[in-house]
Amino acid sequence: MEPDQHEFEMFYAAARDDCLRVVLISVGDRQLAEDLVADAFTRAWMSWPKVREHPAPRAWVVRTALNAHVSWWRRRRREVALGGHEAAAADSDFPGLDSSLVAALRRLPAKQRAVIVLRLLLDLDTATTARTLGMPGGTVASHLHRGLAALRRDIPALDYREQTR
């Protein structure tokens, strides 16, 4: 086995479940999340010389999966008459996926959602988030601010929870 392949397999073993859970929170459908993440890891292996040098390879995988989801959704929207918004139903085995916060997160514009996922779920700093998403740091801060504001509008209980922490 080539050293690069061994290194990739180590990364895959360590990161695959975490990436799947993060993407599952974002898309709500387990089968879709598994396909998106497996596809993203395939791309990661195809671009491994670049991905291995990335400051946050997991974030690269998650970003790639979420981008593919947007593309998938667009195609589906054109070909299937969908009513309302994204039709992915939350997996009933995991009640957390039905929480109002997760639902509100999925309603955010894709870039705001990606920033919140990377900053708050993957715990990246602004600079790494900016590099991962290919946007300036100021834009990351702006998307985070707007995304949080939208979540607060959607879920007034967030204010309440904070006041009672």
Partner: protein, 205 residues
């Protein structure tokens, strides 16, 4: 509540959801991921060879794709995501049909368009090239460079295709393609192309 405390509250809740998914595992073995990549690379090479063959045969058709499935319709079911990233087709009359399905490898798309004679700048998932300056254009010019998709004679442009007429461009103008993603219910497709002033830093010449 300021952003910092709100962010902490959201982070706490999302982390709790994440933790509740501890039994969720990706079951695809690494060997399958690597095998998929190998199959994909093989299809890449075949696609590139097929494209080169078509051009050599004088068909006036250039097809370039970055991911498997070039020239095919990818599955749209949730079970599979295999999307041709983009396709560039040059018709006999010189018009370019650009179909972008996935925001992938803008540099290669830019190179493809330039190779097809279009002064072009392409950026995905980032700010448009700061070296680009808007080109003053009236409606007549825009309609000449970006002809309507409903046009006489085959083939009609399918949905989602950007049609560009390079010969309609003034000598000092080029085309900028950039992309953005917004909320799915109202998401924008790849942003409408715009005219920019041609320059080495923006459109390559």
């Amino acid at each position: 509540m300021n952003d910092s405390t709100l962010s902490a509250a959201v982070k706490d809740q999302l982390t709790a959801v994440h933790d509740s998914l501890s039994t969720v595992h990706l079951k695809v073995p690494a060997s399958e991921i690597i095998a998929r990549a190998r199959r994909r690379r093989t299809r890449h090479r075949r696609t590139a060879l097929a494209g080169a063959g078509a051009a050599a045969a004088g068909l006036g058709l250039a097809v370039a794709a970055l991911v498997p499935g070039a020239g095919t319709h990818a599955a749209s079911s949730p079970g599979h995501v295999q999307l041709t990233a983009w396709t560039v087709t040059r018709l006999a009359d010189g018009d370019l049909y650009v179909q972008i399905r996935q925001l992938s490898d803008p540099a290669a798309l830019q190179a493809r368009l330039r190779a097809d004679g279009l002064r072009a700048s392409v950026t995905f998932e980032s700010q448009p090239n700061p070296a680009c300056r808007p080109y003053p254009a009236d409606t007549a010019l825009l309609e000449r460079v970006f002809p309507k998709t409903s046009r006489p004679g085959p083939p009609p442009a399918p949905d989602g295709v950007i049609v560009i007429n390079p010969s309609g461009l003034p000598a000092d103008a080029g085309v900028q393609l950039s992309a953005s993603i917004s909320q799915p219910p109202a998401d924008s497709e790849v942003a409408a192309p715009v005219l920019v002033q041609a320059s080495p830093g923006c459109t390559g010449g």
